[in-house]
Amino acid sequence: MSKEKFDYFIKGEKGKYEVVIGLEVHAQVLSKSKLFSGSSTKFGADPNNQVSLIDSAFPGMLPVINEECVKQAVRTGLGLSAKINNYSVFDRKNYFYADLPQGYQISQYKNPIVGEGKVLLDMPYGSKEIGIERLHLEQDAGKSIHDMDPSNTYVDLNRSGIALMEIVSKPDLRSPDEVNAYIKKLRSIMRYLGTCDGNMQEGSLRADVNVSVRKEGDTNFGTRCEIKNVNSIKFMQMAIEYEAARQVELIENGKKIDQETRLFDTKKNETRSMRSKEDAHDYRYFPDPDLLPLKLEQKLIDDLKKSLPELPDKKKERFVKEYGLNAYEANVLVSEKEISEYYEEVAKLSDKKLAATWMMGDLFAMLNDRGLDISKSPISAKHFAELVQAIKSGEISGRIAKEVFEIMVESGDNPKKIIESKGMKQQSDPKELEKMINEILSKNKDKVDQYKAGKEKLFGFFVGQVMKLSGGKANPQLTNEILKKLLKG
């Protein structure tokens, strides 16, 4: 346990309040075609170009389950250490809307494909387990576009029928930070599994956020409000903060919290009532008679389990053991599958610990500045490993390495070529260094005297002079040693 303590509470006049959060995450299944039709799921096509007769609900059209989507849901369930249900049922959720062609969404209500599971979070105050209630498959709706015409609404059905996994957490989250960690972990697991690309800008990952508050120490939950369809972690956090504060204020003023659905207004940073419990839709769920219950053979589940990739928790353990990283380093380096793969490639060819330090420092800073994913890094893992090795072997100093790194970013060249062509190799020949140092000492006799008289701070001055004279290439360790020796004499 770290020395940091969990302390996210809302302070009211009458005490501290704990915030209880549960998430319903909608993750778009990574698949070529939709849940019940052969239409493409590719993002960014022209409106209504990826719509089959089934997606647009023409008379007599029937859904046929896409097996790949089922497998993806099972994989995700396994990645969440969840119970996979051999028997699940597709239900119709009935409501009218212009972008819902069937007049119902095919979803899973009473019998979801995946049951209880869990996600582990690494928080500064220790690891925390978040329970998963269930995961079910459902169809996405189309998109209503209200701002193309002053008096008409346009509908784009490209998204209509795309498979979503709704992942429902237990009300185990207690702060915006935990929500951040939870979403990132969920996203990471699904990206490792290849079951969801986790792209929040494209809407592949969205969440409904359930928030309630209770006095610190209370064991009963307060009345919750559901904030619909929030599509970034930052907005989720803002919405939770606003909503928790709103609820605390109501309680402190002796008012009741209504169970209701609310919307988060990102411009005004506030949540607003969308509909109360009384106005809640009656979705009239019933089993879809067009689809038979989904029965999964245990063998299919077992086979999928065997073929799962190494997931972040396991990989983290291995990184600590195999590469001697600390928990923090391992955590950062496994957060994204691509990062972990890059790291492993570098670590195989260079010093494991130094590679981690340099990746998490300069490489991440550069990628961050440029807004690049590691897969788009201008420096290949192989070149990066060569750079790490050049530092480790003493061929170049850390300071020079930063320069080499910059040039690598711009040119894409390998570090060897850069070091050689620019003569950046570190000066590590003791004789040469001694010659240089003697030259400096003889030029600065007064300072040498002062040093000898006890002004030891001047040591730094001499080092600086050596670096200046060598163009920064002097081996710092050797320089220190020789300088000390000569100053003594």
Partner: protein
């Protein structure tokens, strides 16, 4: 040659194959009949030009190996037909022209036939008299005051009036068998899943099944063979080898055990229906079948169960008719909700609205358990009744309907008495079993009456065989005077 159109499909096929009649001659003969039978109002749409064109193409390059060589067929307007308007008997699909062909009709065309026109039906197949159609009621050729049954009333009327050599309908609670019974024709509702539902305008998905309507049992076997088959586009389609029903048709039913369910003797059933049932039993017995009294104790719950399950599914299935993407859209309405309300109020008729309301109600929160869930449980019990009985019998014989064709307008103001017409047919749909209605005699007014044979799941061949033997020995002759022409 004599009027070919009053022959059976099988005879017509033989005449085409032996070149006694060409496909074009045949098609022209039916077009003439149809044009002379407008009073019956059996057709919503005719496709004469297209049919003539197809018949000529067939004659130029005939393929006599097909099941339906060069045969023109009219079909119920519930089957989506590519580039031909498909209305489902509703105003809301008044302008709907599908870009696709239903699997069942495609199967027919792939076997050598082609479309003659689309037949009137109750709106969205909801009705037992063909009086709920937006395109007007259909008249039974048996008598100008009589309904042809429903919902496949256009189909039964057209068939009995020689406007098509055979046809297909859909049967959700009796919509093939009851009109067949009312017109002295043969109608078969196959096992649920034997014929694909893809491209058929849905009424109640767990009950809907397409099937043949013909003049004879042999014709029925031919049509079933042509239209049935596994379809991967329908998740409820049964994946099994295609059967050769017509080739395997046999009239030897010696030793078969025929169940007679006591629950099908209902109160106020006309004496003639009872007598007809007795006649049927005797014929089968004389043919060597063994009659066995059975009990299907949950039969009395079938009708209420049906009128929960079917409207529930319909209320959801019909949600797609919202005026947004195709079909009728009201010009009124200042926002989306109002557009929906006006479109659906103007687009749907009373019976459809009634069932949407019932269905919405029984699925509503707070009522679901008491109605829909309970109905599903009862449905299982009804199915179990049949399963238990079929352990000791081969088929079940019952009347098809509690009466012969009733008068136009007689039951339109009394939905429940209309629903009661389905009392013998509905249990079969709930159990997903195959059932055949075959003409067996007439009542004292000379109106045809049918008997129903119910089989085990996928036992179509057996009930066709029993029907075949029965037909040969029943001596029924459908004498319809062509009063309309």
């Amino acid at each position: 040659m004599a009027d070919i159109t009053n022959q059976s499909l099988n005879e017509i096929i033989e005449n085409v194959k032996t070149k006694k009649v060409s496909s074009s001659e045949l098609t022209k003969a039916y077009i003439k009949n149809i044009e002379g039978a407008k009073k019956l109002n059996a057709f919503v749409t005719t496709t004469f030009d297209q049919a003539l064109d197809k018949s000529k193409k067939f004659d130029n390059k005939p393929n006599f190996d097909q099941l339906l060589p060069g045969i023109p067929l009219a079909v119920k307007d519930l089957f989506c037909t590519e580039n031909t308007k498909t209305t489902a008997g509703s105003n809301i699909l008044n302008n709907f022209i599908p870009s696709y062909e239903s699997t069942v009709t495609k199967n027919l065309w792939d076997n050598g036939s082609f479309l003659l026109g689309k037949l009137n039906c109750d709106e969205f197949a909801m009705g037992s008299s063909n009086e709920t159609s937006y395109y007007g009621n259909v008249i039974n050729p048996v008598g100008d005051q009589l309904v042809p049954g429903g919902s496949s009333g256009g189909s039964s009327s057209a068939l009995a009036a020689d406007l098509t050599p055979a046809t297909i309908g859909t049967d959700t609670g009796g919509s093939i068998r009851q009109p067949a019974s009312f017109t002295g024709t043969v109608g078969l509702k196959p096992t649920y899943g034997l014929c694909s539902r893809w491209g058929i305008v849905a009424f109640a998905s767990s009950l809907d099944q397409a099937g043949p309507m013909t003049k004879t049992i042999k014709d029925c076997a031919i049509m079933l063979e042509a239209m049935s088959g596994f379809d991967e586009k329908d998740s409820t389609s049964i994946n099994k080898k295609k059967e050769q029903y017509s080739k395997n048709l046999k009239d030897n039913i010696k030793g078969l055990k025929i169940g007679i369910p006591k629950e099908y003797r209902v109160d106020n059933m006309p004496k003639e229906v009872d007598e007809l049932w007795e006649k049927g039993k005797k014929i089968l017995k004389d043919l060597g079948a063994q009659l066995i009294d059975i009990s299907l104790p949950h039969t009395k719950y079938a009708l209420p169960t049906y009128y929960i399950v079917a409207p529930a599914e319909a209320s959801s299935n019909l949600a797609r008719y919202d005026g947004v993407r195709y079909g009728y859209r009201s010009k009124q309405g200042k926002d989306l909700i109002e557009m929906y309300e006006k479109t659906r109020s103007e687009g749907f008729g009373d019976e459809v609205k009634r069932r949407i309301l019932i269905g919405t109600y029984v699925l509503s929160s707070g009522y679901y358990d008491a109605y829909y869930l309970k109905a599903q449980k009862v449905r299982q019990l009804i199915k179990k009744d049949f399963d238990d009985s079929f352990k000791k019998i081969d088929a079940i014989l019952t009347p098809s309907t509690p009466s012969s064709a009733f008068k136009i307008g007689e039951k339109t103001n009394d939905p429940v008495s209309m629903y009661l017409n389905d009392i013998f047919t509905v249990p079969v749909n709930l159990a997903g079993l195959p059932a055949l209605s075959m003409p067996a005699g007439v009542d004292n007014q000379g109106h045809p009456l049918g008997l129903q044979l119910i089989g085990k799941a996928l036992d179509e061949q057996k009930i066709l065989n029993i029907g075949y033997a029965f037909e040969k020995n029943c001596g029924f002759n459908n004498e319809i005077k062509k009063w309309w022409s």
